[in-house]
């Protein structure tokens, strides 16, 4: 059926993951004004046309030749047509008929399409291939044209036309149900049901059909709207409908004959048709909007930057000024990060303070959900979902990034701060060659001739250790291996000769053997180019390998910061010890356990006191009493009530080795 390509395709794409939770969903829907309005209008049309004989003020065929083409009056509320018949009465009588007629093809499509789609999707094999061909043939058939051809042959037999339309329309339903069945067929719970010898019929009904219910309902609304418009068009063309009984399509035809002398006639009937189809579309859209979606928020930063909370953004160095002679490139002072609409706008990172001297590497460590990636993205101004730094400041070489316009920030990116992200295969645009993307990055930082840009691209690729520059240049991202793609992504980050490189878990997605190569590359690049690096990682091994300083994050807070050897050898926060214990390659003995297990709590259940207290074995009442501040000297601090003692005595541990293979289990 040609009525709804949009929803059909959308629905079949995500069909396997979607499930409509029945009654709950209906309740949610009924709270929406558009749903109530749409449903209300449809009910109104159906009820008034059922009661037309009772409530219509006139007989729809009664002629009043003294009052032809009259404008609305008290006698004729919506005026009269060319024979003086009452428009309102005709609308009331004509409302229901075409809505019932339009149900026939839609119902037929579903009756044929659902069982066929379920069967071919579940059984597969040659039957699936054969029906695939049939469905494709049906898609190539211009349904409306065929229905008209049928009209020619059947002497405008409406029933035959509707049946043919229904059969042709079933191909869309088959496609949708088949796609969803295929996606669901091999899911674990379906496998389990199959192993438990539950008959296929029941598996299809209980486990597979519910998954496609949501998209099918949407498809139904859209199809119904389309078919309703089509039968009105048939009536407009006087095909298949008796001229005696009024209907909306035919009334439009009548009105069009008098468009010059009585344009008003077009209005009531147009409004009726439009509101009816609009109601159906709105119901379809509402159901779509409550279906679970895998949509990720936009990563494109808005044109105008979100304003930070008034008065909260403090100028640089407010916390404590840089020690004299220390060449500090990046300072984060009490940074809080909010993603609008996520966890009720609660800051996902709070009071993050960091100082990164030029030419050094800072490691940001923590489990998923600790806020380390958000902190890193705030540095380059690329927070997702219009997120913003709601308090504190990010200062690059004395310049507060919050004070920059979106345009200034854009010029800063790539040329002063660059980013390497986690998934190299996702980080490159699949539609363009490596050369095209690298050239674009090179030319983003000033006017460079084609030849010079080409030369620069080759240099960059050699710089990241790619030997076969020509071949890689011609490749599309999907033709590269993960390690190769990450090298290209690093080359892209280097294109603008940045001073600061933010590397967000650059090795996590790679094979273990490749991880080491990429870390070596980063180390040598830093050595050669004198870059400053902020490295985000969940692996203490990687940090020990590469970093000068480390900041440990937990539940949106920095809990410990210091030089790498100091933090790893003398951890002052129990959480750091937990991380170390989970990294056996780094941690020789484990005589005292610090943790009771568990994971990072979600932001809505962060406690007011120490956020680690619930997992901490040495936690005391004081830990839960209130927010725990960072204590210690500049450059070596911890957010633990016991930190002063730890700093005083020290709890030396022995680092046994280092290497990227040592990781904290996620």
């Amino acid at each position: 059926m040609s009525v709804a390509p949009t929803t059909l395709d959308e629905a079949s794409r995500g069909a396997g993951r979607r499930r409509l939770p029945g009654l709950q969903a209906v309740r949610t829907l009924l709270k929406r004004p558009t749903v109530c309005l749409g449903l209300g209008w449809l009910v109104l049309v159906v009820v008034t046309s059922l009661l037309a004989t009772v409530i219509a003020p006139h007989d729809p065929l009664e002629q009043d030749l003294a009052n032809t083409l009259a404008l609305p009056s008290w006698t004729y509320l919506l005026g009269t047509d060319e024979l003086g018949r009452d428009i309102l009465s005709r609308l009331l009588y004509g409302g229901g008929s075409l809505m019932v007629v339009a149900l026939v093809p839609v119902g037929l499509s579903f009756l044929i399409g659902i069982p066929v789609g379920l069967y071919v999707g579940y059984a597969g094999g040659w039957f699936d291939t054969a029906s695939g061909f049939v469905v494709n043939v049906m898609f190539a058939m211009p349904a409306i044209v065929i229905v008209l051809a049928v009209a020619a042959a059947s002497n405008n037999n409406l029933v035959v036309m509707l049946v043919v339309l229904g059969i042709l329309g079933s191909s869309g339903v088959v496609r949708l149900v088949r796609a969803s069945t295929l996606a669901t067929r091999d899911l674990l719970y379906v496998d389990a049901a199959r192993v438990a010898a539950i008959p296929p019929g029941r598996i299809l009904l209980r486990h597979i059909l519910p998954n496609v219910a949501g998209p099918l309902i949407v498809q139904g609304f859209i199809m119904y709207g389309g078919v309703f418009l089509f039968v009105n068009a048939l009536a407009f063309l006087s095909l298949g409908f008796s001229p005696e009984k009024p209907n909306w399509g035919q009334m439009t035809q009548d009105a069009s004959a008098h468009i010059s002398d009585a344009p008003w006639l077009m209005v009531p009937v147009g409004v009726m048709i439009i509101l009816t189809v609009l109601s159906l579309n709105m119901l379809g859209a509402a159901v779509t909007s409550i279906l679970p979606s895998t949509q990720r928020p936009s990563l494109l930063v808005p044109r105008r930057r979100a304003k930070a909370a008034p008065g909260s953004a403090s100028p640089a160095g407010d916390a404590d000024p840089a020690p004299a002679g220390d060449d500090v490139l990046l300072v984060l002072a009490d940074v809080s990060i909010v993603l609008p609409g996520v966890h009720d706008d609660r800051p996902l990172v709070e009071e993050a303070t960091l100082r990164v001297p030029r030419g050094t590497t800072l490691g940001l460590v923590g489990e998923s959900g600790s806020g380390k990636t958000l902190t890193a993205l705030a540095v380059i101004g690329l927070l997702p979902a219009s997120g913003s730094v709601s308090a504190g400041s990010v200062v690059l070489e004395g310049q507060d990034l919050a004070a920059l316009s979106a345009g200034q920030l854009q010029r800063l990116r790539g040329s002063r701060i660059a980013l390497v992200s986690q998934e190299p295969m996702m980080a490159l645009d699949p539609c363009f060659t490596v050369r095209s993307q690298l050239t674009e990055a090179v030319r983003a930082h000033g006017r460079v001739s084609r030849g010079a840009a080409r030369e620069r691209v080759s240099t960059l690729l050699r710089q990241v250790g790619i030997a076969d520059v020509e071949r890689v240049c011609r490749s599309f991202p999907h033709q590269l291996s993960g390690g190769m793609a990450q090298r290209v992504a690093i080359a892209m980050a280097l294109a603008g000769e940045p001073e600061l490189l933010v590397a967000d878990e650059p090795t996590t997605a790679l094979d273990v053997t490749v991880q080491g190569e990429i870390l070596d590359l980063l180390r040598s690049l830093q050595h050669d180019l004198g870059m400053t690096i902020v490295l985000v990682s969940h692996a203490l091994g990687v940090v020990a390998d590469l970093c000068d300083q480390v900041a440990v994050m937990y539940a949106g807070q920095i809990v410990e910061v210091g030089a790498v050897d100091e933090v790893l050898l003398q951890p002052a926060h129990p959480y750091t010890r937990v991380l170390l214990e989970a990294t056996p390659a780094l941690y020789a003995e484990s005589d005292d356990l610090c943790s009771v297990g568990g994971s990072v709590p979600p932001p809505d259940s962060w406690p007011a006191g120490c956020r680690f207290a619930d997992r901490c074995l040495i936690a005391e009442v004081v830990c839960r009493a209130g927010a725990v501040p960072m204590v210690g000297r500049a450059g070596r601090e911890s957010r633990c009530t016991k930190a002063p003692e730890s700093f005083a005595q020290g709890t030396p541990r022995e680092l046994v080795c280092d290497g990227p293979e040592a990781e904290v289990p996620a």
Partner: protein, 313 residues
């Protein structure tokens, strides 16, 4: 690439044959007597029987089918019962009109649909809601109703466009567009909704991809990212549904040609319906099917050009 094209063409030919066959038998299943219609109500039984015999309609259905399909593959789609002209050449005469209208509408649909879809996806917020709202409204407006209104407003009240008729492109592009703009606009309002929704969904999907962040991190301008990278990637799924949009459009074309008295295939089809001219109706269905298959082939090729990952297959 060449193999893919070969496969597609190889698949297209049986598709046309199957559609032609289905159409032929659809015409037979339903009892009708073109002869009695042609002769009018006053005809005697003998007259009807003799004309039926003359037209060859008293032969077994399979014989009629073999005869028809045998000629059809050689390009002979039969003779119109009504005008005695070749059904094939009758359809070919009407084809340019329908092609002009369908492709002008398709072009307008793509331009407006993609532009609005991109705008809604990139801007978001109230503009997104406004565009979506107007779009639902546009999809709910019956094209025949809108067409009548447009004719009245822009051809009768303000005499700018032509209310009826067609001028071939050879008469100059100005005449051509003045005849076709109103019918194309009436169709575009309803049809562009699908393209708009598809573009919006595809663009939102692309905006959530990691490479959007990489491109910004590399210092590319927002405009460049939107118009080059988002548009290119979003164009892939949009192109994939273009074939279906085209089929939808053809349905509308049939109705709209009536209102604007455009002598195209829809007009022809409707005449055939009213005069029970089965040969012409069948020929028109075959022509429409070939058209749809060609457009699907073109969109497949375009996807291949757009998406390097698809070229592997």
């Amino acid at each position: 690439m060449g193999r893919f094209l070969g496969q597609r063409v190889a698949l297209a030919i049986p598709t046309v044959l199957v559609v032609a066959t289905i159409t032929f038998f659809l015409m037979q299943i339903i009892p009708s007597s073109p002869a009695s219609f042609l002769l009018g109500a006053g005809a005697t039984q003998e007259q009807v029987a003799s004309l039926t015999h003359q037209l060859g309609l008293d032969r077994p259905v399979l014989v009629q089918y073999a005869d028809w399909i045998g000629r059809a593959v050689r390009g002979d789609l039969g003779i119109s019962f009504v005008s005695n002209a070749s059904a094939g050449s009758t359809v070919m005469r009407a084809l340019p009109v329908t092609l002009s209208l369908a492709f002008l509408t398709l072009a307008m649909t793509i331009v407006f649909g993609v532009a609005l879809g991109m705008l809604a996806a990139v801007r978001g917020g109230w503009l997104d809601r406004l565009i979506q709202g107007l779009n639902s409204l546009g999809m709910a407006v019956p094209s025949f109703w809108l067409a009548v209104l447009l004719v009245w407003l822009l051809a009768i009240r303000i005499r700018f466009f032509y209310a009826t008729g067609y001028a071939p492109l050879s008469d100059g592009p100005e005449e051509w567009i003045l005849h076709l703009f109103l019918p194309a606009l009436a169709l575009t309002v309803g049809a562009m909704g699908q393209i708009m929704y598809q573009t919006r969904a595809a663009a939102l999907e692309v905006l959530g991809r990691d490479y959007i962040r990489t491109l910004q991190a590399a210092g590319l301008s927002r405009r460049r990212i939107i118009f080059k990278h988002v548009l290119r990637n979003a164009a892939i799924p949009v192109t994939m549904v273009l074939g279906m949009t085209f089929v939808f459009l053809l349905g509308g074309v049939v109705v709209i040609e009536m209102i604007f008295a455009l002598p195209g295939m829809g007009y022809l089809m409707l005449q055939a319906v009213n005069t029970h001219d089965l040969a012409v109706a069948q020929a028109a269905v075959v022509a429409f099917t070939i058209l749809v298959i060609l457009v699907n082939l073109l969109t497949d090729l375009f996807v291949l050009w757009l998406d390097p990952r698809a070229r592997r297959r």
